[in-house]
Symmetry: C2
Subunit: 168 residues, 2 copies
Amino acid sequence: MKVLMLVENDFEDLELFYPFYRLKEEGWEVKVASSSTETKSGKRGYTMTPDMTYEDVRVEDFSALVIPGGKSPERVRINSKAVEVVRGFIKAEKPIAAICHGPQLLISAGAVKGRKMSSWIGIRDDLIAAGAEYVDAEVVVDGNFITSRMPDDLPAFCRELIKMLKRY
Amino acid sequence: MKVLMLVENDFEDLELFYPFYRLKEEGWEVKVASSSTETKSGKRGYTMTPDMTYEDVRVEDFSALVIPGGKSPERVRINSKAVEVVRGFIKAEKPIAAICHGPQLLISAGAVKGRKMSSWIGIRDDLIAAGAEYVDAEVVVDGNFITSRMPDDLPAFCRELIKMLKRY
């Protein structure tokens, strides 16, 4: 099992590292893609060196996509190559787990209309405006989408992600 | 299942939050004890409000003890009530998982002699001086002790902790 994460500077540190370590705990491989392979920093100062750029991602190599929050997703979504990667996972109907501001990528990919989703409350209105059915819950699973609100939701977020990946 | 963590200021944020969320993901209860119930801060600025003081801990209420690292363990060990709590877990032979500087508490409790253990390399010589057999590995399990070196060891650390707790 191989999982991809999309990360830029000012990521929410726990939302990157909890799923990153958690999937490794399961014995799975986790790769990080970014706009460059230069080391990126979280809001709290933890660092992560990406394995590859968005251009080098081959969606067929991965079983799932995880998008941590913080200010990172706003930086990821302005890169059209990154949005193409997200569209690849959507088209292939592979599991996509997005937490906090992570669902911003799903708006950019034009994929939220009619989907039940959660997110950080600050972008709730963007999800609603884009046609999603917003749910204020620690985790919302709708088809291949898993979404959560914030770091304290990480236990529920990863429980559902791992459950989905074990079925996959 | 109910697990206790011992925490003071300047804890290593990931070493507190990864096990904290991970045990909750498993559906278990996690309680945090400290010198006071005032909110404590990690080295990176994440915060945790303790549930109880060391005085209020009843070892018989818990199945295991987890000691995260950072500068927290040095602050925990100077409190004799905290060391008494650790001795209670040792006497009851309950699982004790300590990462990074966490094993400093096991030195203070006089419990490392002849035990195979790991830790952050900076306190390796203290463990050896106190009679432990130091092992440079992502996780070392010796009887009821689980020890690791640093945040990147968290997947292995929690994998062994959860395996031990499921047997317990």
